[in-house]
């Protein structure tokens, strides 16, 4: 299992950004589709990771703010193999964040998915 890089931290100003699609239940399905197309190869359909990419459902990954996840999805960490997805429209990157929260909620139904 690939471990998450603890040194890869979003700048405070990026981490404080709020998901403009928060509460848009209709946008989650689009996030699921984009995740399947762009992310599942490495992170797995369930987001549990593998040898190429870390588990996105783990509490320490989910403890990050929506803004921090958006920043990481956008820029990537090319030197550790995570590509940047800034070529996707901004709305789709926020949809991915929505889906990551939905994955965690599905894995642990008693946990709140919003931050």
């Amino acid at each position: 299992m690939r471990e998450r890089d603890p040194a890869w931290v979003a700048p405070a100003v990026e981490a404080s950004k709020v998901n403009p699609l928060g509460g848009r239940a209709d946008a989650v399905a689009g996030g699921r589709k984009v995740f399947h197309q762009r992310c599942a190869t490495c992170h797995g359909e369930d987001g549990r990771g593998g040898t190429k990419a870390p588990d996105l459902i783990r509490p320490d990954a989910q403890a990050q703010t929506d803004g921090a996840l958006f920043w990481k999805i956008s820029g990537g960490d090319s030197h550790r193999g995570m590509p940047g997805f800034s070529f996707l429209p901004e709305a789709q990157r926020w949809q991915l964040v929505l889906h990551l929260r939905a994955l965690a909620t599905a894995a642990s139904p008693d946990r709140s998915g919003s931050r």
């Binding site: 989650v28 399905a29 599942a40 190429k52 090319s78 193999g81 590509p83 070529f87 429209p89 901004e90």
Partner: protein, 283 residues
Amino acid sequence: MTTLRTVACIIGMLCALSARSVSAQERAYFVTYDHYLEEPGNLEIAVASTTGFPKNHQPSYTAPWLELEYGVSGWWTTELYVEGVTTRHDGSGFAGWRWENRFRPLKGEHRINPVLYVEYESINEASRILKEIVGSGPLALEPIAELRQTHAHELEGKLILSSVVGPWNVSENFVVEKNLSEDEGLEFGYSVGVSRSLGSLASGTSCHVCRENFVAGVEAYGGLGSTEAAALAETRHFAAPVLAWHVTPRSTLKVSTGFGLTGASDRYLLRVGWAYELPIGGR
């Protein structure tokens, strides 16, 4: 029958290899590079062609090429090209091969993202794919068979700068090329491009012909003379609208029509390309 069986076999192999999800991030441009490299472990197979319509009733030409692009790591993509050429009433032939490497020195996303590009070319003077335009002067008009006799080993470097500005990608490439077979000095060129996705929110259902699957833009490219001939007269320049369609998550079809802007330029360049992405290695 044998050919049909071979094609069926290749398609079957591609389907088997691509059973898992992987997504094409093929740029819309044909000439300009942005800062996105191939995803690590992905192999992209692309076929494309450039068809040129010269001025002064010169015969048109078509230059097909095959492209194999592999993501070695998050900061290094390597690519092999094999190209040919065919000219109306003037025969066809192999035009050579190229080995390209792109390196991304900085991690993360920046206001301007640099990528360093190094390419070795073993081509002949009949090469017409026009993946870059450098130096000055129009294309040689001699017969293909004659041009193929003149071989060239060339080294090409590019500084690729690429930015995300709102929904737009803005990319600038600066090209320098050295013909190692002849003393032509250093030749210079450029390309710039802007493009954007036509969609915003992703729909929740699978769709092929929907706005989110299209990227449109325009690129411009041309020569900037050389150390031997710095004059910009006789340089070739083109402006080309581009359109990419992500037909499926793994495949992209793209087209472009380039319009020649100077007397030395061909009248039009019609480009068509199709790319298919395969994941290599496990999760």
